[in-house]
Amino acid sequence: MSSAYTLSHLGALEAESIHVLREAVAESERPVLLFSGGKDSAVVLHLAVKAFHPARLPFPILHVDTGHNFPEVIEFRDRQVAHYDADLLVASVQDWIDEGRLVEERGRNASRNRLQIEPLVATIEEHEFDAVFGGARRDEEKARAKERVFSFRDEFSQWDPKAQRPELWDLYNARTRRGEHVRVFPISNWTEADVWGYIRDQQIELPSIYYAHPRRVFSRDGMWMAESDHIQMTGDEQVQERSVRFRTVGDMPVTGAFESTATTIDEIIEEVRVTRVTERGASRADDRMTEAAMEDRKKQGYF
């Protein structure tokens, strides 16, 4: 540090994120935190706890449960909720399918990714949430690079990239009319390396699947997919045991693992440092289908 009053880059990012969290809560009636169980949402939850300390979290946590989650992620979610004495809401895709409100996709690339959108939007409407926190980062993907920190959604939860509110200085505009809301992304300006560095510095707990572990997997499209009841294997796909870890947390059928022996945070940081493929390119089958995949999903209300 060059002077006693200078923050490190992680300190400066943390200060900005805490400012965003406080501003959104101060300016909205009914905020909620979307929690996927992934490392980014774990970091946002940690920042939220810091922002309102020593008070309890002033908003509930919302998990969209696809029914295809890794069991380790659900355990992690429940542990975090208990640890922080937080309120948990679950929007269940399985319930919607069982009630006939959603129809399961079929085929080799079937996923419940798109099916998350309706239960999420319905839960936001039902509870009249007007500020919805998410863990998206601008460095993840090209469409996200242009999204605001406070991202306005109309009454259909749609994002209109051409009609975004200008965002200047740290003066955020969270004003909405009834039925509208803002998605708020406190770690917009963090990179993957920043997130890992912060997880190390703050000793933030993560689901165990981020660390290398032995798992029964099979190879598909250059990724190792976890064997599970939720994925159909074709005849020539062979299950074998490998030491793998996951770089992102999504649904079991669409989240690929890669071979790794990194069992500590420092080993993971070193792996991230030398890696040559983006997180999403490496591990999300759904994002690889079309270049504009994310832009399309965001417009419909996906994160």
């Binding site: 060059s2 992680l10 400012h19 003066l171 917009s188 990179t191 390396a193 440092r273 270049e291």
Partner: protein
């Protein structure tokens, strides 16, 4: 990613502006590529796209063209944020388009920037657009301006061509308020003086762009003199173990707050002392910008969101009439005298009326059009605003945090204007 996340890295915010043709996207692509922020899958995607378009080199500009609409039109339509890091610094780059209809995006990018990067095509020299970009950087008080004189390869790396552009720019910049001005001759396409020192221009003794960005001293750009702490949120836990806790959460706008300091709560004017500066990680003895902290006072006062802590001998202006510059950002409505708008300033919302419209500024010539009666999209003008209640403010040139505001349409809730306070209106 090349940089380790070590504690000694410093966060620097950059804004870059340039036209479709002057090589801005290529420069950014080069910075990202050479600091190894571009991953193999991204590089393959742009190599493929370059082949499809029939270009014979990898078009680095494709890296920064985000949305489908932009790819179709071949232009950048909005502010995009990019990230890269060196072992010394971590950079956030606001990448904004340069053509005239997008002044609002340039203003947006410049609002948070420590350093503005401006590109000039050495063959064209200082053009209207260069003047516009430089003026906006100066209006927004971006502390450092780095001018990249690009496409040096197309003039055979000729020093005279470079010097002529530099002289022209200096003549023009003398009319602006630019505190720190630097020039670098580059070829973004060929990589000359972007990351590595060029072999083609031995006459240039200065650092390449990336090293310059690593070395510019930004810590002292902050205002550490005037204590301003806008109260953002009042923390009252209502928990058994914190029954009487009452903390004022916020981000330090300027100045250094210390435990034991006398402070005044505005607008009420009550004085007290700082009893503690709390963070989740424990109490600290001092806080400076941009820290987010929670302050407790020795006395039990009624303080709420929108109030401000300052020092009794150094307070902001407190008034209802503000002399301001506004950049208009709405294509759906204009700004006119007598208009009423919502204003957000620090952590405060209020209402203002446009009282006297003084002039519209031609941002290419700096000519003041005093016959104008209002502003349309992307226009900048000076006016007097009258607020329904007193506002606690400083001059923008002295304090970016307490001298800036946004204007919001009360029926649509859209952000329609961005403003900078010149001072109290008389």
């Amino acid at each position: 990613m090349t940089a380790d996340t070590t504690d000694s890295m410093e966060l620097v915010r950059l804004a870059t502006t340039g036209s479709v043709d002057d090589g801005k996207s290529t420069l950014i692509g080069r910075l990202l590529l050479d600091t190894k922020q571009i991953f193999a899958d991204q590089l393959e995607a742009i190599e493929e796209a370059s082949r499809q378009r029939g270009t014979d080199y990898v078009d680095l500009a494709l890296l920064t063209d985000g949305l489908r609409a932009e790819r179709e039109q071949g232009i950048t339509i909005d502010v995009a944020y990019r990230y890269f890091a060196t072992p010394k610094r971590s950079f956030i780059l606001a990448d904004t388009p340069g053509h005239i209809q997008y002044t609002r995006n340039m203003v947006t990018g410049a609002s948070t920037a420590d350093v503005a990067l401006i590109l000039i095509d050495v063959r064209n020299g200082v053009i209207e657009q260069t003047r516009r970009h430089s003026f906006i950087a100066s209006l927004l008080e971006v502390p450092h301006l780095v001018v990249c004189v690009n496409k040096m390869d197309l003039v055979d790396y000729d020093q005279a061509a470079y010097d002529a552009v530099v002289d022209d720019f200096r003549d023009f910049a003398a009319r602006l308020n630019i505190h720190d001005l630097r020039f670098v001759p580059v070829s973004a396409l060929r990589g000359d003086n972007v990351v590595d020192q060029s072999d083609h221009m031995p006459w240039y003794q200065g650092p390449p762009v990336l090293r310059l960005l690593e070395e510019i001293h930004i810590a002292s750009d902050r205002n550490l003199i005037d204590v301003r702490f806008p109260v953002q949120y009042v923390i009252r836990p209502h928990r058994m173990d914190h029954q009487d806790y009452r903390g004022y959460a916020g981000q330090v706008a300027s100045g250094v707050l210390k435990v034991g300091d006398e402070v005044v709560v505005l607008p009420s004017g009550y004085e007290s002392r700082i009893a503690a500066i709390d963070t989740y990680d424990g109490p600290i003895s001092e806080a400076a910008p941009p820290m987010s902290v929670t302050i407790r006072l020795e006395d039990d006062l009624d303080v709420s969101r929108g109030d401000m802590l300052a020092r009794p001998n150094n307070m902001p202006h407190n008034g209802q009439d503000l002399d301001v510059m506004v950049c208009w950002m709405s294509d759906e409505r204009g700004l006119h005298e007598r208009d009423k708008l919502a204003i957000k300033h620090t952590t405060n919302w209020g209402r203002v009326m446009v009282k006297d419209f003084h002039y519209r500024l031609d941002i290419n010539t700096l000519h003041r059009d005093e016959d104008a009666t209002g502003l349309a999209l992307n226009e900048i003008g000076r006016m007097r605003l009258r607020a329904t209640r007193p506002i606690l403010f400083d001059e923008y040139r002295r304090n970016r945090a307490t001298g800036s505001f946004i204007l919001v349409d009360e029926s649509t809730n859209d952000t329609v204007g961005a403003g900078m306070v010149l001072g109290p209106a008389t």
